[in-house]
């Protein structure tokens, strides 16, 4: 996916002016938050589970090589194949190779953010294959030719009227006067169209929420059952997963599964939790003839041992974006790359570079809600600050900001000068406000963003330090 993260401020401005988007954001925001809070409340050990989840993934990240190799050997033992891919390009090629070898024409896909990360659909299309998204949300945005705006609810920015428009444009073999007002009508139509695709698919690609080292199983959770049809009907099943998805045992997976749905949608469990272990065995009634796991690094191993390692604990529940006031204001597309919201603000700079994605870790008030709800207790604000430190070291921030900070720092280190400057500023602003108590504009262009939208309350006129010194003098 082509990044527009560098244009975040312009993207955000557009998003703020998009009435449909603003309506959809407001509608979904409170729902996600209330459901997550209720689910957490209902489970007395929820906070303890978060600690367990954090410790478990910390352990895995310390021994990632061991668990990945264990996973690989189990997959092979069960008759599957593992493809180690360092880059997005290697992963795209591996998948294309598997599809071409199978003589595939139609490829069904379950929902996968890694597939977005490596832009596999474009690659397959460029080589004459037809990739079909089978998650309803993903199907909608595929028809609309746009990326997901949320990691678990990819089309939540789309209104049902817009879905109907997309269906009418794409499903031209259906009667043009059919009713498409009700959600049920839309779902029925999507189901009809997707059934045909499931039956004609030669290869099914799914993501993975977890990889289990002790069994070589891959796990997906869905609410639509589309993942099951994607991976059991075609001859070939390809799982695409990043290396941070591995966990040691089935027991460990159940810990994380108890956290995942509650944090994501407020469900106790997703409707479908599907385990895939190798290809069809003799005597099995169904299942693919070939089972492939494409394991993607794409910059993740470089985070091990750095201040960003902890972000690899992420289980992609989306709670951070559901609770982020910035995400809630501008939605996912404004972030300009695959992963939006607070976790995207940490991961995206790691994967596409801080120069490209520099705005993302800056576009945060550090309100801390993301960390407060993250099931894996990832210190997201701290990591965004680490990215800002990298920007500062590499002098990537705007010159005006650096100079302003430099001047401020000079004074802040010298209390005498600082207090004098504060006295002057307080008087100046007080005088400029007249008797109004507030200022509608400021002479500093740096602060025009403040007065464009709000007044600046005037200072009382004298600083605390000077009044305190006077009071002390009188005593």
């Amino acid at each position: 996916m082509e990044s527009t993260a560098h244009s975040f401020p312009e993207n955000a401005r557009r998003a703020l002016q998009d009435d449909t988007l603003q309506y959809m954001l407001a509608k979904s925001r409170s729902g996600f938050q209330l459901r997550r809070a209720a689910a957490a409340q209902r489970l007395p050990e929820f906070e303890a589970l978060r600690d367990q989840g954090r410790d478990l993934k910390n352990h895995v990240l310390e021994h990632l090589d061991v668990y990945l190799e264990m996973f690989e050997s189990k997959v092979v033992e069960r008759g599957g194949h593992v493809h180690w891919c360092r880059t997005a390009e290697e992963a795209r090629e591996a998948i294309l190779g598997i599809c071409q070898k199978a003589g595939a024409k139609t490829v069904t896909k379950g929902k996968s953010m890694i597939a977005e990360e490596i832009a596999v659909n474009d690659h397959l299309e460029a080589h004459g294959l037809i990739p079909i998204e089978t998650d309803l949300g993903e199907y909608i945005i595929q028809l609309r030719k746009e990326p997901p705006s949320h990691i678990i609810a990819p089309a939540f920015h789309v209104s049902k009227e817009q879905v109907a428009d997309a269906f009418r444009a794409a499903h031209t073999d259906l009667p043009p006067d059919r009713p498409l007002e009700e959600p049920r009508e839309l779902i029925t139509e999507a189901r009809l169209m997707l059934r045909r695709r499931f039956q004609e698919a030669d290869v099914g690609i799914t993501g993975a929420n977890f990889l289990v080292a002790e069994t070589g199983s891959t796990i997906i959770v869905t609410n639509e059952g589309n993942g099951d049809l994607t991976q059991t009907l075609p001859k070939v099943h390809v799982v695409i997963a990043s290396i941070d998805k591995v966990v040691p045992t089935l027991e460990d997976v159940s810990t994380l599964l108890r956290l995942l749905a509650r944090s994501a949608t407020g469900q106790e469990f997703s409707a479908y939790t599907t385990f895939s272990t190798g290809p069809r065995r003799p005597g099995d009634l169904d299942g693919p003839e070939e089972f492939h796991v494409v394991l993607l690094d794409n910059g993740r191993s470089a985070l091990l041992g750095t201040e960003f390692q902890e972000v690899l604990r992420c289980i992609r529940c989306g709670a951070c974006m559901n609770h982020c006031p910035v995400y809630g204001s501008v939605g996912g597309h404004a972030y300009g790359w695959v992963y939006p919201g607070p976790v995207g603000a940490v991961i995206d700079p790691a994967l596409i570079g801080i120069k490209e994605a520099g705005h993302l870790p800056n576009a945060s008030t550090f309100c801390g809600r993301c960390e407060a709800v993250c099931p894996m207790r990832i210190p997201l604000p701290k990591m965004m600050r680490h990215w800002r430190e990298k920007e500062f070291e590499e002098k990537l921030q705007p010159a005006t900001m650096r100079q302003g900070l430099g001047v401020w720092g000079w004074f802040a280190r010298r209390p005498g000068f600082y207090h004098a400057a504060a006295r002057m500023t307080a008087r100046m602003l007080r005088r400029a406000s007249g008797s109004d108590g507030k200022l509608g504009s400021l002479p500093l262009p740096m602060l025009s963003g403040w007065t464009e939208h709000r007044d600046l309350p005037a200072p009382e006129g004298r600083t605390f330090q000077e009044l305190w010194a006077e009071r002390r003098g009188k005593k």
Partner: protein, 258 residues
């Protein structure tokens, strides 16, 4: 007559915004602390806690300012701050900021452990359960992010406000959602910040309260600035002004003198 019991010696970290914009909050803090039996001093060597540098990625300047603040305050029994944000900086971030400095790490931890946000210090440390003040209005309260999530400031201001005569309290919808100030965030991303403070102002209006309080001048400047731009009659004040009974001494934030 018996010698009055000598209370704890408290260093007041004024904060740069209180110093510059709202000295009344400093005096309100002094009054509340003295009424609770503390001896209050205001070290002259303080400027800013360093958050602007820290959050801009300028670690060296932040460390420098942290060392200066620590040196100015390490001799006190307690350090009290009329801001959850600056208190959080000293309490939660100074130890991390200086963790790799063997000379300063223990000093940072020493000061961090003794640093408190004003209202939570009164309630949690000094055991204050009521204040002697009067304020005739319906009040609503915004929970500033750092105080709430870094320091657990939530029940304490409500508890003391309940003891103020004349106060009717009404909860603010989405009281725990950020107002959009975020330090330099509000000038770096003004459009997003504006959306957030618009939502906050709308929630304030929906309560019908006559006064909005919070514990951080940064958030208050932001919310008051929006309300005043909209022509709202809602009065905006720091919680300490009401608790100390000093609200009559100065007009509300962003309002003209009567």
């Amino acid at each position: 007559m018996a010698e009055p019991r000598r209370g704890p010696r408290v260093g007041l970290f004024v904060t740069c915004l209180v110093d510059l914009f709202r000295p009344t909050v400093g005096f309100a803090a002094v009054k509340l602390l003295e009424d609770a039996g503390c001896t209050v001093e205001v070290p002259r060597d303080q400027t800013c806690c360093g958050q602007p540098a820290y959050n801009a990625g300028d670690r060296a300047t932040a460390q420098d300012l942290a060392r200066r603040t620590i040196a100015a305050f390490e001799g006190f029994d307690h350090v009290v701050v009329p801001s959850g944000s600056c208190a959080g900086m000293i309490r939660k971030h100074y130890p991390a900021l200086l963790a790799d400095d063997p000379a300063w790490a223990p000093r940072a931890q020493h000061v961090a452990a003794r640093t408190h946000e004003l209202v939570s210090f009164l309630v949690d440390v000094l055991g204050v359960t009521w204040v002697d003040a009067r304020y005739d209005d319906t009040i609503t309260y915004h929970d500033s992010c750092s105080g709430l999530r870094e320091l657990g400031v939530k029940a304490q201001p409500r508890r003391l406000l309940a003891s103020v005569r004349g106060v009717k309290f009404t909860e603010l919808p989405d009281a725990e959602v950020c107002c959009g100030f975020g330090g330099t965030f509000c000038v770096k991303y003004p459009d997003i910040s504006n959306r957030m403070v618009e939502d906050k102002a709308a929630n304030v209006a929906s309560t019908g309260a006559g006064t909005l309080l919070a514990g951080d001048v940064g958030c208050l400047l932001n919310i008051a600035g929006k309300l005043k731009r909209q022509g709202s009659p809602v009065k905006v004040r720091h919680v300490a002004e009401v608790l100390s009974g000093l609200a009559d001494e100065t007009p509300p934030i962003g309002d003209a003198a009567r």
